[in-house]
């Protein structure tokens, strides 16, 4: 199995995760989607120096992972390629923003360091929440939920096709890498001189395949409605979940939980 096939298996594994059974899997897709969106908005809304305020937001995804039976490390493992990119976003802050904001013992911590950490944490939290949604809800159901809230049909179809396209492209990449190495034994990676044609071929091939896949969907009656992916009904428990989650976000956002806990500890 080459690297690409492994990647592909992991994509397939996402589908497998999404059909497991747990209280989180059993939830209404719309409720989960809404909650995830609100969560991400709230996380993004924190001030860039408010690291201590943001930390309690970690509790929600951690709790949800517990409930869903999906280990948090699965998320970090699957996202190991994206994670560093997200983390890199704030890397330069410490260089530009050197004003000392806080002292731990007698080491001064600059605003840049704090805003870097805050940004990193924001990125990680958003990734964790999005991953949880995708890992506990079949992708077609997420699309169905988006349609339910009147998200434009074109965009939903595009989203669905993108999701499938990634799979197709990985598959083609796997086949082509194998074919290349069979004829270039002992070479590590793909020689620079072949990059152009390799990339061109990859795009053409995966586009052709994606086109056929889409045709195949159309031929079997796909018309941007998702009757085939029924959303689990919105139950009382979903309402409770939604209210509790939003209440939690509001508390973390408007009450300084860390300070509060600190006060308790000091007493």
């Amino acid at each position: 199995m080459n690297k690409m096939e492994k990647a592909l298996n992991e994509l397939g594994h996402m589908d497998e995760l999404a059909v497991q059974e747990s209280p989180v899997h059993a939830m209404n897709a719309g409720a989960k989607l809404l909650c995830t969106v609100i969560y991400i908005l709230v996380v993004m809304s924190f001030n860039k120096y408010d690291l201590s305020g943001l930390i309690p937001m970690l509790l929600w995804p951690v709790f949800m992972y517990q409930m869903s039976g999906i280990p948090v490390r699965t998320c970090f493992y699957k996202l190991r390629i994206v994670l560093p990119l997200v983390m890199a976003v704030g890397l330069f802050n410490p260089i530009f923003d050197r004003e000392i904001m806080l002292h731990i013992g007698n080491i001064g911590v600059s605003g840049g360091v704090i805003s870097m950490l805050t940004l990193m944490l924001k990125g990680v939290l958003c990734l964790m929440a999005s991953f949880l949604l995708v890992a506990t809800t079949p992708f077609d159901n997420i699309c169905a939920a988006l349609r339910r809230v009147h998200f434009p049909a074109m965009l939903v179809t595009l989203l669905l096709l993108t999701y499938r396209y990634v799979g197709v492209m990985t598959e083609e990449l796997a086949v082509m890498t194998d074919a290349y190495h069979l004829r270039a034994p002992g070479q590590k990676g793909i020689h620079v001189s072949a990059w152009g044609s390799f990339l061109g071929q990859l795009l053409l091939r995966s586009m052709d395949r994606a086109q056929e896949l889409y045709s195949s969907m159309l031929l079997r009656g796909y018309h941007q409605h998702f009757h085939y992916a029924p959303i689990k009904p919105f139950k009382f428990s979903d309402a409770v979940f939604l209210i509790l989650s939003i209440a939690f976000f509001a508390i973390v956002k408007y009450v300084n939980v860390s300070e509060l806990m600190g006060m308790f500890l000091v007493r």
């Binding site: 592909l8 298996n9 994509l11 397939g12 589908d15 497998e16 999404a18 059909v19 079949p138 077609d140 499938r164 799979g167 598959e171 395949r209 056929e212 896949l213 045709s215 195949s216 969907m217 159309l218 031929l219 079997r220 009656g221 796909y222 018309h223 409605h225 009757h227 085939y228 029924p230």
Partner: protein
């Protein structure tokens, strides 16, 4: 009824692939489309399904194939693609089989019943809950055929249904095709299979029909076949 009336077609900026082609297939007929690689067999199917548009008229039950009535046409036709990797897109075989019927508003219970019946008929129950990315090429081909049968189309188009199949599954597919009462159009280089399943054969070469007639006549015409990159079916070459 399926009819081509003076149909021509070329892919963008290329040579014509289908040249002024006309034929008519009546309800319930089983027709084999044969011809060398690149003759235009798959293209004929794509034209019929409205996946590509050419000149001339294509009729399915007196309805012309054009942009406005694609969904009516496609509801009537089931298509098994040449490449099954591109046919299956849901996570599991079961979900893939349910996709078509549910889109056409068949109830879930009814669709479930269909799926089980077809899986039994094809001896595929063991694949039901398998993930599409974890089954072999031949298994995927069988599953693709199952997804199309689950739609209960009025006519079935199959592009190379037996390629990639082992003899056991090839036999199951042949027997299944024989049992279907629908109109069937099958392309293949497996002339023995065509011999077994089709009563009529249309031979295509470079986008034109070179022969159209009874299967046993065309498939036993050694010279005609060899002139078109094919050989007598094994069953005939042994006897004769």
């Amino acid at each position: 009824m399926i009819a081509f009336e003076n149909v021509s077609f070329a892919y963008e900026s290329g040579e014509p692939v289908i040249r002024d082609m006309s034929f008519r297939i009546e309800d319930g007929e089983a027709v084999g489309l044969i011809g060398a690689n690149g003759a235009g067999k798959s293209t004929i199917m794509k034209l019929l399904l409205g996946l590509v548009q050419g000149e001339g008229r294509i009729l399915v039950d007196e309805t012309e194939v054009n942009r406005d009535n694609l969904s009516t046409i496609r509801h009537k036709l089931g298509f098994v693609l040449q490449n099954s990797d591109n046919q299956m897109f849901m996570p599991t075989v079961y979900e893939d089989m349910m996709f078509g019927p549910l889109n056409y508003m068949v109830s879930r219970e009814e669709a479930d019943k269909r799926v089980d019946e077809i899986l039994d008929r094809l001896d595929l129950q063991h694949l039901k809950h398998k993930y599409n990315h974890k089954i072999s090429g031949g298994e995927k081909r069988m599953a693709a055929i199952a997804t199309v049968l689950a739609m209960e189309p009025e006519a079935i188009l199959m592009d190379e249904p037996t390629s990639a199949l082992d003899p056991y599954n090839r036999r199951i597919v042949i027997n299944t095709i024989k049992e279907l009462s629908q109109t069937k159009i099958i392309t293949s280089h497996d002339l023995d299979m065509i011999m077994d399943t089709c009563s009529r054969v249309i031979l295509i070469s470079k986008g034109s029909i070179v022969a159209d007639g009874k299967a046993e006549d065309i498939l036993s015409d050694k010279e005609l076949l060899e002139a078109n990159h094919m050989e007598l079916p094994l069953s005939l070459s042994r006897n004769g």
